[in-house]
Assembly symmetry: D2
Homo-oligomer: 326 residues x 4
């Protein structure tokens, strides 16, 4: 019996706004309120926390206290390098001053990782990239991406840095846009403490098979984290995991398990219009079913079918295991 642990980005329990509902999809919540909601989810062990803390001026101790009373640990800290200051880029901003400010903010996030005993600094450079043809010099942009991450990683060898790639949004084209591009960059940086956080939804919206992406990142020793959600394959809808593509997400978990990858299964969902606790619970119920499904999977028969690239045979085995567990 496995004892799979589950986690979530703390923003799962915030409320959201967008360019139309500028007054938000609900009343604003502070990070403390979000943690208290996270605490209501069954079987949630850890959270990833944005830095600076949202919704008020809280000390580390206050956040720690909220986490403790909800029996939650911290898996990662996500510095907000995508807010107003950084809308023309964080690591790749044309202004050297903003690039420095990015470095400072992430450096502060490093201290938060140390304070909370988290596993990693999560880098999600959502504003790094371009919108139009001819807008940027691609070589310079990519160099700035790698230099920025590389400098932080070399200055903080005691910490792990994970890059969460995504094809687009908010930037129309993001520089760390696919699993392979990110691995290329990480290999160029050449440091042991830089890896990938693989978001299932980002992979499928980019036309990747997430399970293949996971295998590739694992083969390079760079899969440091993951999270799940679902979408209609063309945009990061951040819907509840398992709602649209249960078989592909099951395959993603299968590849992790097969490679003895033992990290946390995290949620990165944005329940704009749904109850956030109910949404998280429903997702974790699906994840537990997938976990049970992996126990039930006839791995030998699956491998035999795969050795012949027998799609229907393999699918039958996988569907039986997953759906039987639900």
């Amino acid at each position: 019996m496995t004892t799979q642990r589950f986690g979530a980005g703390i923003w799962h329990f915030a409320t959201y706004l967008d360019r139309y509902a500028t007054d938000g999809y609900g009343t604003p919540r502070s990070v403390i309120e979000a943690i208290d909601l996270a605490g209501q989810v069954k079987d949630l062990s850890v959270v990833d926390i944005n830095y600076p803390f949202f919704g008020g001026d809280f000390s580390n101790a206050q956040v720690k206290e909220a986490l403790d009373r909800n029996k939650l640990g911290v898996i990662g800290i996500t510095p907000e390098i995508y807010t107003r200051e950084f809308v023309k880029g964080s690591f790749t901003n044309p202004d050297a001053g903003v690039r420095r400010r990015t470095h400072e903010l992430v450096t502060e996030a490093c201290d938060q990782v140390r304070y909370f005993g988290a596993d990693y600094v999560k880098l999600w450079p959502g504003q790094d990239g371009w919108d139009y043809p001819f807008q940027v010099d691609y070589g310079t942009l990519w160099k700035h991406s790698l230099d920025g991450v590389g400098q932080l990683a070399s200055e903080n060898p005691d910490l792990k840095f994970v890059i969460e790639y995504k094809p687009r949004e908010p930037r129309v084209r993001m520089s760390f846009g696919s699993v392979a591009r990110t691995l290329l960059g990480i290999e160029k940086i050449g440091l042991p403490n830089v890896g990938i956080l693989l978001d299932f939804g980002h992979a499928i919206m980019g036309g990747e098979s997430a399970a293949d992406s996971a295998q590739l990142a694992i083969d390079y020793g760079r899969l440091f984290g993951m999270d799940v959600n679902d979408n209609y394959r063309s945009w990061d809808d951040d819907l509840v995991a398992g709602s649209l593509h249960p078989i592909e997400i099951f395959e993603f978990f299968y590849v992790l398990r097969k490679n003895r990858w033992e990290g946390v299964w995290q949620l990165d969902q944005f329940p704009f219009r749904e109850d956030s606790v109910a949404t998280a619970n429903h997702a974790i119920d699906f994840l537990k079913a997938a976990d049970k499904g992996l126990e039930a999977l006839d791995v030998d028969a699956l491998k035999e079918a795969q050795s012949r690239h027998d799609a229907i045979g393999a699918l039958k085995i996988a569907q039986k295991a997953l759906f039987g567990a639900m």
Copy 2:
């Protein structure tokens, strides 16, 4: 020589926020400030104004004064039926109270149309639709869409109502999602004062050929308005018109002109990271070149090529006219 008039949504001159840059892509601006920026654009005649007015508590007279000093007319009023109150739907909200509130807000917008002497009330029910399979009863949802619009149109026979369809965003699936779906709905409503506002970008992100969509709406006598922008065909990026798909936008204008459709050519761009006046000027320069290109177009030769479905021949004629004018 034509004397084509140009317009823009007043939000073109606002600043934006999204779910990541929650503090905004710039300091907030009031509708008055936006109007003063619009006034700096060369050759802008009219604007479409959101209601309620953003950025402060302004009277109609104050807005009128700002418009007058910038020599701008009002083409349409866009009631904000997509803010917090309406995030689970406006016309299709499951709560009858919110549906009533939608009706009230649009009714207020009708008075604004009368006050400003605008051409129409613009309905953009961006939250009407669904996110997940099984979430809604589709028949009921569609009925609510048509009932809501139909009631307003029949109560205000002196006004025109335009529906701006869009496949998605903010709702993952929008009920008025394509030109044909919207025409079906309008025919069902059966009133003369309901039409379509065709957004070039919404058409191409939905896999439509915008020129074909325009022809169809015109053939039903329902093309009441239009606006342009550009995107990478999978999301409503609202980039500057002509930046990515100059030939298709030129064809769109060609179909309008060919049918003697003489409305305003409007901009619906969101310059998140660009200067809004420069972006509008650049777009209007492109629109003027397209206008000149239409004058230069060898229409007889084009029609002859089209009568044979001769793609290369037709393209050659169109490219020559457009690029020669730029």
Copy 3:
């Protein structure tokens, strides 16, 4: 207990070629051989047959005999209005002679429908449309589409005609491209014997929610047929039903059942590299599970959740019913 009947396009049991594997994905098969393969599938009752018959010069009697020995009926006849003669269009060909030839071929197919006692002539005008901007006059093209279908329907009032819409392929843009566009056209034709054949895969590749498309077609009294398969939402991959999007296909069946739509559940799969009998069997196993799932569905609870647009609540009910049945 329902007694759902199942069908398949006979091409499911053919072999294929494409622009790269020009020598085909397997040795060619005649329609007779395909029928004999179809006969090996468990629980297949009817097939849709291409006309002219492929793979040889067979008489109706020979085809009938093959069907009889395999206990198969004919649900539809699909005239091949998309082969070499028609690559620049069938109903919309710029050459009036080819438009006439289209009419003749479909008229011959009408006699086949009568001979085999099939339910309908299936029209799939895959070459009608355009590839490039400026290539065609959209108004003329659409008129030809409607005139061509309308003439056939009025000349053969004893028969039903179904239009299978599809966004694209082989034509880059197809004229009958979406459910709403096709319904608009059918309403314009205004005859009772023209309807839609809704292909689940065509709907989702066009960004439709297939269940919504079905409801709309039913509300217009125009859903005359359907078939299923699966794809990655951007192209008509014609993969095995249920392999990627089991929940959405289940919702599609739910909407049919809810509206007491009692037609055949057909397969339109192209097992390029798989065994065609095994692929059909696997799909029908899934369809039977979906059928059982509909029996198990707590419809009252679902409707209650839908009345509140409660996505998570509704999804939970649907997943339980479907997965419990598998």
Copy 4:
């Protein structure tokens, strides 16, 4: 003044078939006939030739003679590792015998490269990949991809091998699917004579900015070839270059020129329904205009705008240069 050379895949001058028009979009042509058509194109210097030769049993000498009389050189040889024998994969086929046969066929193609004095063997493993989740073991598949290419490259150190990546088609998911994935693989192979052939259309259908892809491949010293065409960004339509995305293709050429990349500008178009010579001529006219546009481009002003990521400023400069040249 540059003296840019132009080329084309010889299949540009063939006729095609697909899974619907199984009798083809025109009467079959032999490679000799195709070469004679290619010879009618103005300013075509070289062709890429499929091996085995299509349409008959021709000797090298016969092909050479046809090339000579049309004053055409050979830039590359494309072994047909995607026909019936290879539909379940070439380098990645589950059957070791087929993998060996792939090796043999490509080895024969090497001799053709030597015979014709071509620049490279082009590898386009269009059948290598998967269609369904769970179908393959991704690690094994990728290893086979790299082993297969690596063995050939090490056995033929006198030749260059170019991999033409593509996201999909005919395989639903291709193993060499993006520029970054292919570079990762090439770096792993670690031989100097393996590079990329970058197809503009494959890049944009995969959501890449082709100019960025080119810069990346150049920075790794791996851009060995390129070709152009156009499409609607979601499928490899292989339409005429410049018809839909003139600005992005101009940017692609700009990045090549800026890096002093001096290879042939090739066409990879499939004029299914168009005259192939007219289509090639129209494309080359566009390419020449782009070439002239590069001469006219105000590079200093462009670089200055790019140093500020000034999208509108940069676009203005680029549009002026391109459109002024047309």
